[in-house]
Symmetry: D2
Subunit: 306 residues, 4 copies
């Protein structure tokens, strides 16, 4: 039985100590501590860990933390949007810049700057992307011709990761360490737009989304236990919990979210709702942390290693 | 210059009258009135209208309203998740039931009931889905063989709509009236799970997501003006505004959302942020309505016809 | 057992019909219908009804609706902030104006315009307030001297209401119909600032907040049943539910809120949490509507009369 | 120009280092770093610092952190609700306990346990409060008689603080260090309920809320600069920014909030909106951190000392 109690100022308090204290703070602070404890348990239990995140988190500085998790083989698979894929690639060439939420968007537009919350991306980032993707698509088409069939999204991302030579890249480490990145909507971004231009010249090129289904199912069915670290909502969240229906649900699940349940959205749905669906097991260890992931996840990350 | 002023009780006040009064109420009520005015303008201006929604809205009673919009040819294209597709099909057989947000999810699980917020779906709904999808997949495979190439998601959904004989079905009317339904992550749901079983028997079957790209681009590039009715977030929102980059952005956009901008998510991003990206034009007419769509959209729907 | 099902377009659908349909829509739409049903029950049951709201709702067009509820003697007491009191008075002289959430606040400041969300109030409104309050304070001081004791907040507001000759005024009708307005923080606004200047000349003037306690307790203790219509959070909500502890809680409670429970705030606390406190009865009829009140309350208001 | 970039895992990273890195993370993480920088500036500039918080934060472990800030004389005044006052007193006798957001509130009620989010308070805490308050009210009545006039809320809280002998108490240190605690709604809680019983025996006892106005005005008018650390919303926030109108606004303001602006509420109002009101200066340094304060404020607290 935890007593609620704060702590005194100490000049060099470590993040680990702070998060330990969080169990006595209450509200969402105590949920952060529970998230850390659950992730430690899934690791100790050798669970197959699936990490999901939305692409704005790769726009943020969480990108390098996700890369670190791939480097350390802490996670076994990733589900995310194609924005994460293309921004990881763009950042391997040139960083994004901190701006503000209150800039004049018409002026930004006129000067070729795109805004993601308080993060700024220049048009030149996208032009660089184009230079990278065109030869990459040629490579993919060659592979398609050699194999005699279309590739699936995770194969394409695996190939792309091999081309990225950046120690801070998620894709670099995922490819190096054979961590599949599932991306159920691979055309929903600049990657898709570039592919549209490429396909006009090469109408025979295609992407078969059904190609990933077996890899996803095998990952889940071969696991003794599964654990989910679900940052944000969207289809990345849905896909990860949905994949687990074939084994009656996750054994462990940590959600970090800014969405609420009252509108019936999947993004805001609780871990409890997922139990009704066999997406999470009845006796699973779960917690929902209500927080912007840019605050919560660095705290969790620095505390979750044994 | 609108004065802020409420209204008196009148027994049989119509929704249209109420929404007209909303311009004098302020806060989000006035945004609902602005949404109606913008949608009227896009219609008057003969804009190509793209409607997006998340699948929980099809779980709700908004399904029949979306079907009505397709029947009336009010919208020219839809972007949504595969949950919308499969639930529209399931509901054509048997309705979902109103429950509560506070049910015991373990008990629901044990009795084969799945919860979406306060809406309940039985396992038998999904079993019925299976019965429908297996012969449908056979049909798709036959088409693939006849055409000598894989189908894209919107073609598949078009075919599915032709099989649904329900006046309340979105897909039924979309197919009847040639309104394309784009679904960038078509495997992210029970549809994908059934397809996984089907593909084990028929490994040659596939879905080429690049097949929809030309139809999407043509829709946008051939339009004089484009307008977006964007309900909720996720990739449905992203895809619709992203498609408009090729023509420098939507001319009109109405967002109805429960997500906020502070976490940098696409779901919470304002129409202003989209201007920086050429996803919405600098001089576009736009409004963001902060509300659960189950409240806001019926009000808008009943008021937006001339 | 309600089936989930939308409705067809009908040109002159009344608000009442729409809200009846809301029980079949799900999510927050169905909560609006439940709110209407609960309010009808509390009325039928002759419950003492306490209405609470935050002052921004009086800034909005809800002011005239609250006034109507007082005129019709639909509610038996009000709890709100002093902002409601002073803005009701100001609006009886000159209306507020609809603006936008995105105006330049520095420019507004330089031109003497104050912003409340998308509602604009001019400095001249406050100057008019000053003209009204000074003679009113003189009147209060005279009363204090005659009674030989300080007045309480509800007595002061009652006196103020008698001076307002506006059919759209909350205070006007509350005074006319003897509906007490409790205001536990009566100095927290322009009223307090003006009183500060007045008290520099008249240091003997005071306000005894304990003077209202008996009236509050009697209201609750003499009621057979009590019902709460709790719009928004803050101390207005807290005060109303706290008052009911002396009778083991409200019998009926409708919350309309934009706050969530995860931060442990009273504003976001559920009706269920209030049960643990004896602020709401265990078997009470309750619902929480998650919505901006400017949208939800007009719908409820137009539907809750028998 | 800050580049967006995460950081590597390091076993004993300090909170200060983490918060320094937050400027490169983006979204709300970077707002935490800005909050720290602004608080350092207000301190360096010798601003009169006003701290506000809602009472649920005192329910949480932030209580001891607020006490520390009073002990260190880091803040010059506090504005809060009476719940903070009574819970600080109760906790000096017996701690609150960590529970969960999902407990059965009827069972809690039947066992005499009250829930505040995931924090539990027993009825025995309140019975202890009663034992403390009755002699304290006797003391206040004696003071009222000696002075020949009623006390104001801040005087009462000052007296109460002198009775608390707990190094972890906010009131203890506030009284010791002459830090006024303003509480514009002092009866809105158990304190008020106890006082109601006391006043039935002692009808001459009263509290004159106007008694604090001069102290508040002097605090603001005598300051060279003022800074606000505004945690949460409600009247505590409103009162602090409203007090600053007499000097044309705060020079520095840090908001930590879970409320949003779209409903026009004061709780969700931005620092920018306050500029239009002269509650914050046009050229003030401000930031809004969107986060549960139990997560954000410990991070800020550990980083804001030079």
């Amino acid at each position: 039985m935890n007593e609620i109690k704060g702590f005194k100022y100490s000049e060099n308090k470590s993040v680990k100590d702070l998060v330990n204290n969080f169990s006595s703070i209450g509200f969402q602070a105590s949920h952060i501590k529970q998230a850390v404890d659950i992730i430690k348990k899934m690791k100790k239990d050798k669970a197959t860990i699936i990490l999901t995140f939305t692409s704005n988190m790769v726009s943020s500085g969480l990108r390098e933390i996700f890369a670190e998790l791939c480097k350390l083989k802490f996670v076994n698979a990733i589900v995310t949007g194609v924005g994460s894929v293309e921004e990881d690639l763009m950042k391997s060439k040139k960083p994004f810049i901190l701006g503000s939420f209150n800039l004049n968007d018409k002026e930004l537009h006129q000067t070729g700057v795109n805004r993601i919350g308080n993060i700024l991306v220049e048009n030149s980032h996208y032009e660089g992307l184009e230079d990278n993707l065109l030869p990459f698509f040629e490579h993919l088409l060659k592979m398609q011709n050699e194999k005699g069939k279309m590739l699936g999204p995770s194969e394409i991302i695996f190939e792309l990761g091999k081309t990225i030579n950046d120690e801070n890249s998620i894709l670099h480490w995922a490819s190096k360490n054979n961590i599949p990145i599932f991306c159920p909507a691979i055309l929903d971004g600049a990657f898709g737009l570039q592919l549209y231009y490429f396909k006009q010249e090469h109408p025979e090129f295609g992407i078969d989304v059904t190609a990933d289904m077996k890899a996803e199912a095998d990952l889940i069915l071969n696991a003794e236990k599964t654990g989910g670290i679900i940052l944000g909502g969207g289809f990345a969240k849905h896909h990860a919990i949905g994949m687990n229906i074939v084994r009656e649900g996750f054994d462990y699940a940590v959600y970090v979210t800014t969405a609420e349940a009252y509108d019936g959205s999947l993004s805001g749905a609780s871990t409890s709702e997922a139990v009704s669906w066999s997406k999470i097991k009845e006796d699973a260890n779960t917690v929902v942390v209500h927080s912007d992931a840019t605050i919560a996840f660095p705290l969790i990350f620095l505390s979750m290693f044994e």
